[in-house]
Symmetry: C2
Subunit: 350 residues, 2 copies
């Protein structure tokens, strides 16, 4: 075996793949990853459960306890639920099971495109309109032209923070011949009830949810809700033990309790305060948000991002996706104050 | 949207896919899944770490602490290591990155074929010889005919328990034009040192290892060791947060301690006792094992499997893969005694 150049062995779509950038940047105030700022404390009983856990045994492959807790929370049967090691694993499974082309509006969550390319599937972004709502005409034209097997709609949309209009979402569902996957990762922060109630009418509608934004990002638990016949097919490509035992136990306990709700309310309230503060800073243009972050524009996003970092505040630079755009996660009141102070200094506001 | 028949939407290779059967069968004596019978107790310090863990934050995407602990254990740099949510996730990533055809000897671990089919890649099994060692001529013919992008060799092999001859493995590596993935899940129980020392000479050689067989199946931690250039390519298709924070913490702590070694020695010693006991039971034909399980044949495997279950002993029925074959995981001395007693009754031995 001579020294190979791996670029000859690896698939062409992998060679050119720009992977998701997840870097562990240490910073005093971390407002970059749309996490909840509130740490859930495992209850004493839970620690006992972990202390006596059979670490040597494989986890329950069906994660029955956690699935029941989720079904109870969202008011469905367990057979319409598929659990993932984060909802991005479920995006993989959907594209593996149904294939491409994969269509999504842009700007949006980058993983739809990244995973499509990793799997060698065609994928295309259709620009949103000037209010970052769905452009139904453009979507219709792309659906007709590419006949996508899967359409991903993130609503509330990441990074823009808004919900797409319900009537436009319904139009897309009516036009689509394949699946429409509504990624509701940020729904808990929205005034919309989400599309779970529509599942019974539209059975090519797939809903993605996650525990990562509401306080449990460490665990990697996402879930998919869809027609049970679809679940049975996608479940075939799932790794049999995709959810480790500790995440199953902690997530189940958290869902059965009520400790997840208070922080969500606090984040929504802080979001409104943060939005008002940004509105009052000259040179900043914030967009109303239904999520746990705020999308805003400035003249020179790269410079503002770097200056904030020097003040110890990490946010997300979205300048590559949308010129001048930044995204700040809603933190605790103290963190938000630190961000606003640093941002004011950055913008030369007294 | 009319009620769709999902079998029209889902890919053909998924429709016909027979998934891995992981069922949560409750049984007094569980010797079916090649787990360690010894439960690791999390140390007090570790529980404190979990109690104060920031559950709301995403895990370290690079799992630096755990990767360092593994690198120290196997004596490599961290840049030749890729971590997976179990090694089966790494099998997915390898096939996604390099594609098929995928070749492997049979009988072997079923996931190589299942994941290949899930990804729509051609895959073919080449029969082992009568001693369950590699049949070099047949492998050579298949390599020439199919030009596989990846060859999976499980050594020690699951379910047969033997290591393949080193010289035959080396011949396969020399013949292969693509990757040779040596799955060493069971290497800790083997008298072979494994192929890690050969990595420097053969840089299309990929080694898979796991913590699942040595006491930490609950956590889902597998790892891949390969040339750093290969790691960089495969890392692109990895989900950025594929290893949750709790598994990272518990696995790191366990690897830095010494608590994993004693159980491995105990299992090896019990395996020899179990093998001798099976040798002495008329109608049973055990095979020597380098793993934490024993492969054996009986006249009517289905009947023996069912009768053992009625005695409260769960083992693995391999009758579909190899006529008359069963696989029993090495348990604690007490569990092995219970198995032997039940098996004797089943076989009509006093």
């Amino acid at each position: 075996m001579k020294k190979p150049d791996f670029s000859e062995l690896v698939r062409k779509n992998i060679r050119t793949l720009q992977p998701y950038q997840a870097k562990d940047i240490r910073c005093a105030v971390k407002l970059d990853a749309n996490e909840s700022p509130y740490t859930l404390r495992p209850a004493e009983g839970l620690l006992q459960r972990i202390a006596s856990a059979k670490l040597n045994r494989y986890p329950d492959p069906e994660a029955k306890g956690l699935k029941k807790a989720i079904a109870r929370k969202i008011g469905t049967d367990t057979d319409v639920i598929l659990l993932g090691n984060g909802s991005d694993e479920l995006i993989y499974y959907l594209i593996i099971s149904f294939g491409g082309p994969v269509l999504y509006p842009v700007p949006t969550f980058s993983m739809y495109g990244i995973i499509s390319q990793a799997l060698g599937e065609r994928h295309m972004g259709v620009p949103l309109d000037k209010d970052y709502d769905l452009n139904v005409d453009k979507m219709a034209a792309s659906i007709k032209k590419y006949r996508p097997k899967i359409i991903f709609l993130s609503s509330p949309n990441n990074p823009t923070g808004n919900c797409f209009s319900s009537d436009r979402i319904l139009k897309i569902i009516d036009m689509a011949k394949g699946l429409v996957v509504l990624d509701e990762a940020y729904q808990p922060f929205s005034s919309s009830k989400g599309f779970l109630p529509m599942m019974k009418d539209y059975n090519r509608l797939v809903i993605l949810r996650t525990l990562s934004k509401i306080g449990l990002a460490s665990l990697r638990v996402g879930y998919l809700v869809a027609d049970s016949a679809l679940i049975r097919e996608v479940d075939k490509v799932r790794l049999p033990f995709n959810l480790n035992a500790l995440s199953q136990a902690v997530a189940e306990e958290a869902l059965l309790g009520s400790s997840l709700r208070g922080p969500v309310r606090a984040i929504i309230s802080e979001r409104e305060r943060l939005y008002e503060a940004l509105l009052n800073i000259p040179g900043a243009r914030p967009y109303p948000s239904e999520a746990n972050f705020i999308f805003f524009k400035v003249h020179d996003a790269d410079a503002v991002y770097q200056k904030l970092l020097m003040h110890g505040v990490l946010i997300r630079n979205m300048n590559t996706a949308v010129r001048g755009a930044l995204r700040v996660t809603v933190g605790t009141p103290e963190e938000n104050d630190l961000f606003i102070d640093a941002f004011k200094k950055t913008m030369g506001v007294k």
